[in-house]
Symmetry: C2
Subunit: 305 residues, 2 copies
């Protein structure tokens, strides 16, 4: 594996001229009604009907956008809520996206002490030993992780990144209203907690710099707070930013602009505004509408860069 995750992401963004990630966050109540009707007919009123509808939906969305975006970001919670069958739909979604040449950013926000973090890192970025075989369990190209436990809980992920050309995005400043509760606490030396986390992430990021000059150890920076994004871009000049908050959460193209450095180094995620762009009265056009929404978002973002 000669290319790092950052190299692969950078190249794909350049090739597709699209710093955009589509979040695969299935809400069963919002799925096109005919998809659920079809699987319900096939499987009955059970969990298989729901999870197969989710998988079908994801495949159609992926088919509709794989040539115009570099990455998808499945949020694993929306699959975990459907139990084992849900996680199987998650796994198949990841594999389908990969087969289409997409990078998969697993939004898992895992975190733990070292031995445990190692198990998570194997599950999502590396392989698990099964007798004489090394098996990929939930294949993805990068994961989101939470740094509250400090460096020894981060290291196992970094090790798998080095081994397998993978990446991580560490939560620095999130997009939700109560992100401020702890992340904005002011420390004794004057910086906020999220700035202190950013300083450490910048420090750690030097462990894997790709040929493109960017690190595979990136940061999650919410688009909903542009002034903070600007500061964070200065603190972490070489970290890729994964930026949630555009679209349904309210951030605009102008808001996400500070996440970029000379137009590079960030990937903006949108989920609901793309997946559910269709008119519920005309659900059969959901994939086309998702593509149109993605193209519109692409234009919107590129216009400010």
């Amino acid at each position: 594996m000669s290319l790092t995750f950052a190299d692969r992401l950078y190249q794909s963004i350049e090739q597709k001229n699209s710093p955009i990630c589509v979040g695969l966050d299935p809400f069963v109540d919002k799925l096109p009604s005919h998809l659920v009707a079809d699987t319900r007919k096939a499987f009955g009123d059970n969990i298989q009907a729901l999870t197969q509808a989710i998988l079908e939906f994801n495949k159609h969305i992926i088919d509709a956008i794989y040539d115009i975006v570099p990455a998808v970001k499945p949020q694993i919670a929306f699959y975990e809520q459907y139990g084992i069958a849900g996680l199987e739909a998650y796994r198949q979604t990841c594999m389908y996206a990969r087969d289409k040449g997409l990078l998969v950013i697993a939004d898992i926000k895992r975190n733990d002490i070292a031995t445990t973090a190692h198990a998570y890192a194997q599950a999502y970025l590396g392989t698990t030993k099964v007798f004489n075989q090394e098996v990929e369990m939930f294949p993805s190209d990068a994961v989101t992780i939470n740094a509250y436990l400090g460096k020894d809980g981060i290291d196992p992920f970094i090790q798998e990144c080095k081994k397998h050309g993978k990446g991580v995005f560490i939560l620095v400043r999130t997009s939700n209203p109560s992100a401020k509760d702890f992340q904005d606490k002011t420390l004794i030396h004057g910086a906020t907690l999220f700035e202190a986390v950013a300083e450490e992430v910048e420090h750690w990021s030097k462990e894997i710099i790709g040929n493109c000059g960017w690190s595979s150890i990136g940061a999650v920076v919410g688009a909903t707070y542009p002034e903070q994004a600007k500061k964070l871009r200065e603190i972490m000049p070489n970290c890729f930013f994964l930026v949630p908050g555009y679209g349904a959460q309210g951030a605009t193209a102008q808001d996400v602009k500070p996440c970029f450095k000379q137009g590079k180094g960030a990937i903006i995620n949108a989920s609901r505004s793309i997946l559910y762009a269709f008119d519920p009265e005309k659900p059969e056009y959901f994939a086309e509408k998702a593509r149109q929404a993605t193209v519109a978002m692409q234009k919107d973002i590129l216009a400010v860069l």
Copy 2:
């Protein structure tokens, strides 16, 4: 559901005179060799052989300790690393423990923005709607969660706790060496970050106080830092503490003593020192050895209270 999680935990600790939780953290390389040999014979060199061995191991451990401890704590990462089959073993472990009258504390450390946290909360504490049914996906009595995203990511868990008599343990001060990286940062008003988190947890904990006087909104407080535990006990007088770090991670009974208030309100976890107490030359005695190690730990802890 009239009893809160705290009431159920408190009662069970009293009845069994045992403030102890057994961590179910399977390491395949450490399992009794005959268990893996048996399942390998039955299933072949594949993932089923490993995950069935894990499940068998857990069942024997549960059989050996269910009458002398109130709770078990499966660490989900060790199951996720075995993919879908691993998570099925996790689910069956939780159900088996419940059937034996044990409380299950799911060590998942999940965290996210509100809509996503709601999905996790449904998966582990509540139910998910599947057409006209409400289904428990990964049944447990309490979960560990990470508060870096602030209150709006905690609320969905609290809501499920209220609805279903469940509990949460919020990461405050963890047991690992680099816990200090961020948790010990000093804030401008003089407290550390972990103390600030503790103050919020104490505030939130008032939302669910049980008949026993303790809250179902508890805290994870590592046993490896007794001075900090003492401070945290003062800040959070009514929060149950889930205390990792005893045994294999190095903490002693004296170290965990400050986690209690007049001998109540804490549950001390040990995993490896109980599960792998057996002599690898005599693996057939693993369950008896686990029980002996649990009894020894119980005596050790009770002696200092």
